[in-house]
Symmetry: C2
């Protein structure tokens, strides 16, 4: 009968606000929006809402955010790509449940959802093997990052599992960036024996790899095949379109929210890291048969917008 409860009053009484706090390093980091979207979509199913604060990688801001959120009586918290924090004393004292998603640095931590970079790497490597490649090089990210190290492990193990020795110079550490990928590739092309395929640890560097190969007068994928990682939105507009393993940001966010909701209901949740594996998006940069290509989903929203406005779906 038109009755609309006042959530403030209810929250005051029940000590439950149906709100959680989300502390993100920075909303503008590339994976933060999809992680948060995943969180939001799960929260919606349990009638929760999220209050988002940016900590900008600043420990003081992060502490302040925790304090602010506690003052708002949130029921729990999720730390998104939060850099460094072991939960503050204040958070522990409050006894509210919390989760971490996609912590990038530091030792592994409890109640944390992370990408399964090792398994994702296997996906990429197996694809290359299935296409007949055996001389596969790897351009890695900076070793300070979890993801970079795990992708290296995956590469090394994968090669060994196929009984292939990794030649000197086939594994290079770079910096995640276009320029780094470009430079590393130039080095690689001067290697003997020269690899026929390169597993590049992220899409940015892979872009540089594509351009370096072209600059050397070679073609992708005919002369050198490329697989990379992340499935950033530009990877399907680059030519050739990149074959890449997705970093399952959305799914990770969803999972973290799900775990949190379990804790919210008082259930005991396994403390160890939850690993989520991405998917291989088969496109053009490996030369796989076109019939194998992943069918691309339109970006969320663009089809609805299309129906609404008559304006065609736009890739984001």
């Amino acid at each position: 009968m038109e009755y609309k409860p006042n959530w403030l009053a209810r929250g005051m009484r029940t000590e439950r606000t149906n709100t959680i706090g989300i502390i993100a390093d920075d909303l503008l980091s590339p994976f933060t929006p999809p992680i948060i979207r995943g969180i939001q979509d799960f929260l919606r199913t349990i009638d929760y809402l999220g209050l988002i604060i940016n900590s900008d990688w600043d420990p003081d801001l992060e502490r302040e955010a925790i304090s602010t959120l506690l003052g708002r009586s949130v029921d729990g918290m999720i730390f998104v790509e939060s850099g460094h924090l072991a939960p503050t004393e204040e958070l522990e004292k409050a006894g509210k449940p919390y989760m971490f998603v996609h912590r990038l640095f530091g030792a592994p931590i409890q109640y944390s959802v992370v990408p399964d970079d090792y398994a994702g790497t296997q996906l990429a490597m197996e694809h290359l093997f299935s296409l007949g490649h055996r001389c596969i090089a790897h351009i890695a990210g900076p070793s300070g990052w979890h993801s970079a190290r795990r992708r290296v492990d995956g590469y090394v193990d994968s090669m060994h599992q196929h009984g292939i020795a990794i030649e000197a110079g086939w594994m290079l550490e770079s910096d995640w960036r276009y320029e780094g990928g470009f430079a590393a590739t130039q080095q690689l092309l001067a290697t003997d024996p020269c690899p026929t395929a390169i597993y590049v640890a992220n899409d940015h560097m892979a872009w540089g790899t594509v351009e370096a190969i072209r600059a050397a007068g070679l073609r992708v994928p005919d002369d050198v095949a490329i697989v990379s990682y992340d499935n950033r939105s530009f990877s399907r507009v680059l030519r050739p379109k990149l074959t890449t393993v997705s970093l399952p940001a959305y799914e990770m966010g969803k999972k973290a929210a799900e775990q949190l909701s379990l804790k919210l209901q008082g259930e005991t949740v396994a403390t160890d890291e939850v690993k989520i594996c991405g998917t291989l998006y088969i496109r053009e940069s490996c030369g796989a048969d076109p019939s194998l290509r992943t069918v691309e989903q339109p970006d969320v929203g663009t089809t609805v917008r299309h129906q609404l406005t008559g304006v065609p779906p736009v890739s984001n």
Copy 2:
């Protein structure tokens, strides 16, 4: 003395929660995160927090979101890229202030912050003129979008102001996408007289333009110069790096929050659209003297992260 107020109780008493609702079409739309970040950064200065809900371009979801937010007693609302809504009856009845940011379609509306695409276009065109170009073509976005139409107006007026006639075939409507830009450019290159510069209405199409020009055996910027619009993050990793006018998403969000805070304080705010002009990022695609290039700021957070982790700043 360690006293921490309970915001719920305070809110119940004062009818002020220091919280606003943010209804976004979709957190994953490219300009939504920077707009929200702008809102958040302003809100922080007045001790407010934002509750974000995605409406996914669905009028029903949007109505539901308004209702949810009202139930949470937010003090006001901001609609981010919300497609269509004239405020619902319920919102009006609640008497809470609200603002729109970056409404993409439909008739102009009150209390709305939008990009000044006309002025931004002048920036782009003047840059081209200053480089000596007179034969300038325009690849436009779909005419259903405000931004596309205003960018066309800016182009046409700018040409006329310089006393230049727009040749037949110099103005093409496309679809915002890489493929559209590519195809339009091929058409343009077959035009006589062939333009020496192209003003492309967004970065995505401009990417296609670059590739089409290359495919025709011509060079950017030597044979054809390109300016575009939006300043998407990939525009500075594309080679040549795109000279482009930014869509000032962050600033728009900030402004909207500022306007809302004025309304929150009971001040009367001008009802007409607030227009925010972007900035011209001079890079490589127009062939401007290197000394004129805009100095690039590192992405928010990456420098802090650098200090924290020893890992170099990464472009997002």
